[in-house]
Symmetry: D2
Subunit: 335 residues, 4 copies
């Protein structure tokens, strides 16, 4: 029973069906009929004109977004534990040609306007220090917390004041939206977000993530960079098909809700063991070495998270039986 | 009727079936059961131990290969019309961090040992000039010519003498092998090739191309670079499934043969209009502006190639009726 | 007797005196009293507001200029034999993060508006091909020819039309101006030049070259890039002192004239042996192997230039006796 | 009276004399008679064969050293407050093509083997995290502390164990050696250092810093990178002359001692105000806002260092009267 990553989840059947349905001759790259609908589909979803491009990975989406905002000699303010800083093998530095990630602190990998302003103030405005050009946040965060529209808007105000671009890594944007409810424009462009990495792969997709530019004027250059990075698939229609299938009938939201519901059940069982509130599909909890071993002996796969803690992740397709079994097993430890 | 690119072709049904069959939970990235068989499958195919990694595009395969051979301050000898020099949006320069492509000439985009040696000799061995570290050839070439094992081996000898790595862009390797027959090791590692971009997308694949290292020791670094370039798909099993489906029962070769056969039929009709011999699935022929317009009026799509010439490309799934129709239409112009 | 490079020349005594005079405590980097006068001094010289920064080498000046104009995914139109393309060890690719130099042809390393327009037209405006963002010319050229203000203005018109930045590599700008006479603004900003590498080292300087931005708004970013490239000397006043000494009393022009005069004398002796007109301080002439050997036996140092030709360069401090001796020696060969 | 930076100091008269003495025709770049003696001169000084190259700035020396050790996808372990991490405008990222600086903590900007080993252990050895390839330390540190040979050797042992290259930023190596006494090989190559940035500019030089490779096999590539970075001055003899003048008669050591002596005098006056021991030529001490203002009113220039602290730096040529005056002024505040 897999609780170590939502990347291990299967693909939603509707996604595969859409790919099969797309299996005919069409124009190469992103000139096909499906890819050409993406700008419109996402403009509808977000309630504003935006430019939408598929890429194969969240890494590529994040890095193309950052490269749009930050020159090689610039920097990116982000949380020290942001995925872009810790788990993308230096991809942001590659795509930006050596921009510097400037780490900030905050509980649960969340940033506040105060942290951001203090981070900016700590840098002398001269040529000897790397000047930040963007702020990047993750929603839901790497620790499963969710930024509200108000929180993002407060950060957005800081970015405008400090002359920073504003990027949201939404690898788990669906999980965040499932928690937030409301309109997806509220926590993004209306709150000052310039570019969003909108994750679909953890959410039932196969190989297509979306990069959404609320500053459409950045899209043309980003398309050149996408090609230059080898991310302009020659049969792009199979990328577009995946995303459109998940947008249809709000499947992306349903999938986000399903994953979150599983996490909520387990969180309920974990009670006071929880290290952080569970707001999306990740649970961080205290487990002794013996308890962790006991869970593994019962077939539960998950990551240790430092000493005495563990990370559990639920997926869109996690069988209810697995969730109930894990919740029950945790309950037996007491809280 | 589409004759402008084999990128527009559909995906082979067996590929989609294999992806559907892979649709269950498995380890993320390239730790899954299918991806772990690739080294073995390609070692069997080539008759030598090799390391095999999937990527999304031929651009990524080519550039990861070049980055393995060439430091940022180095250069790559290649044909002036090589795809890496003309049609990858500067991706080789991106992945290599600014290495220089050093263009050489040759009929039909083919290079000879003499050209390569002369190209190397024209560069002073000092710090003021960029020193070549690799040779890259394309097989089949951008003009549809095929290098024989002997021709590659002669180039391979030159690379060893000159201290160069040796890369083959095999976007149409299947078409080349369909023409050559024989063992795929003969035109690659036995002829001195260090790394091969083995194309599957034009050949019935969906989004998986393979990068084959005959110098296995390069693979570990290339895997880091793959991640850093955002090409480590989180659900890699769907990439591996595609490739394995095309390897099975030599489907890749059958598809190459099918595309080549279509081209041969059209070449027969073109006769003395041919600008170059047709050795794979591309036809370059003389067409007047009126003739080109007449073909387009009949529904044939293809590219003009300079003034008075055209490029026609056949695909693995090209309907025989389309091929016969185009051959007949060309025949009406006389030769 | 050294005729192989004006880089081998000594430093003008006034330069060394100015450095000695600057030898006292002052603010570090470019905050010192001398460096702060440079913008004004060059604005006076060129008759327009410009931003002027010292760097250690012409390579750095050229590359910082290009990086101001060209994004990593862009290209630079230049002559195939431009110094930036052949003799800077890949520095333009380093500073621009992999932009592509797009080589054009032209007699004597000179470009025309027709060549530039044709070069641009040959590139499809799509993401697969690298799009040019700048034009770079060298004045005097690598073959000692001089662009007139009208010629530069015609190129400048083409750059405006094609949306290109316009850079002049003026490693031998003093020699060009010595030939042209007139106002230095005419062949630069009035003709559309956006940034000029103004060479002082070949002209009697020691280690200071100037980068002049006629688009002052580019200077701030270029200063960040200069620091990032390790070219912000900590004792900048000794850089500024050199340049100011050569500006004083038009020493730079006198030195250019002196070098050109030596070349003119030798050109007169070479007569019909000349491969190209001699317009600055470089002479390209036909010499048989035996003639070249005979000159070397008499102590003349110079470069062979392919088979049967040689390059001779005169310097600002070349003794008249050396010039006369070389002219006489060449005359003995007949023309 | 300037106590804010040893970069503001004048040039030693012997340096200028040596430059004047070098003022004659010689081979360009680093082929001249003086540059060719550098390998030998530094091999003698360090008691082992080494390769020695001049560059214009410490930034360039540091970054060329790091680029020799660290691939673009790798990382550099260093102190969080290392100059390379905080004050070089992103130059290490530029020269290494995006390698990541991985910050470690330690009092007075000093690292220990334990810190280094823990830093390495915190990084998972997989493709998702940037793997360190080098350790860089600064001696004397950014806080004026000096690593002893034993301390460096202990770090050196850790680097060998962890497979890291080992770089020493010796912008103030002369000050460190003045404190340590003994042989310069003991604190460098005998302790495991692979490359040393040996600072001369703060020590009485003008524009020449040295990069010393104790792994000579790295020098050839570094020379290519130097050219590519625009740091191969065309009149290199004036760079070599500076360094040779400071090596002669141990002037570099005398200058280091002179600067340190000034610092010791001021440290004696500061007494318990010292924040850190004074081991070289930098003094960090507690000063109230009023005290700082009072010193400035008396003409002393220095940097505030956060709230309630100040940094004072002494130079090789600091007049004794200035030192005595500052010591006396501090003494009046009491300790």
């Amino acid at each position: 029973m897999r609780f170590f990553s939502d990347n291990a989840a299967a693909v939603h059947p509707a996604v595969l069906e859409a790919m099969v349905a797309a299996n005919h001759v069409d124009t190469a790259y992103d000139g096909d009929a499906l890819s050409r609908t993406l700008d419109g589909a996402f403009s509808d979803l977000f309630g504003t004109d935006c430019a939408a491009m598929w890429v194969s990975t969240g890494t590529a989406a994040n890095c193309l977004a950052l490269a749009s905002m930050v020159p090689p000699h610039g920097g990116v303010l982000c949380h020290r534990e942001a995925h872009i800083n810790t788990d993308e093998g230096g991809a942001p530095e590659f795509y930006t040609h050596g921009a510097k990630l400037i780490p900030l602190e905050g509980e649960g990998a969340k940033l506040t306007p105060e942290t951001v302003r203090a981070g900016r103030r700590a840098i002398r405005p001269d040529v000897h220090q790397v000047q930040p050009h963007a702020l990047s946040i993750t929603n839901a965060t790497e620790y499963g917390l969710v930024y509200t529209p108000d929180e993002v808007a407060a950060l957005g105000e800081a970015t405008r004041e400090l002359g920073l671009g504003f990027h949201m890594d939404g690898a788990r944007f669906a999980n965040a939206m499932a928690t937030l409810g409301g309109h997806p424009g509220d926590v993004t462009w209306r709150a000052g977000i310039d570019a969003l990495s909108f994750g679909f792969v953890k959410n039932g997709g196969l190989s297509a993530e979306m990069l959404i530019f609320f500053r459409q004027e950045w899209a043309d250059v980003a398309k050149m960079r996408r090609k230059r990075a080898g991310h302009l698939n020659s049969k792009g229609r199979y990328q577009a098909a995946q995303v459109l299938a998940l947008l249809e009938a709000d499947r992306w939201l349903d999938n986000g809700r399903a994953a979150n519901a599983g996490a909520a059940t387990i969180a309920g069982a974990a009670g006071s063991r929880l290290v952080l509130p569970v707001e999306a599909n990740e649970i961080f909890l205290r487990l002794t070495t013996d308890e962790a071993a006991a869970l593994r002996a019962q077939g539960f796969d998950f990551y240790d998270w430092g000493v005495g803690e563990a990370r559990i992740v639920t997926s869109w397709d996690q069988p209810q039986a697995e969730i109930d079994a894990l919740a029950a097993a945790i309950r037996t430890f007491g809280s």
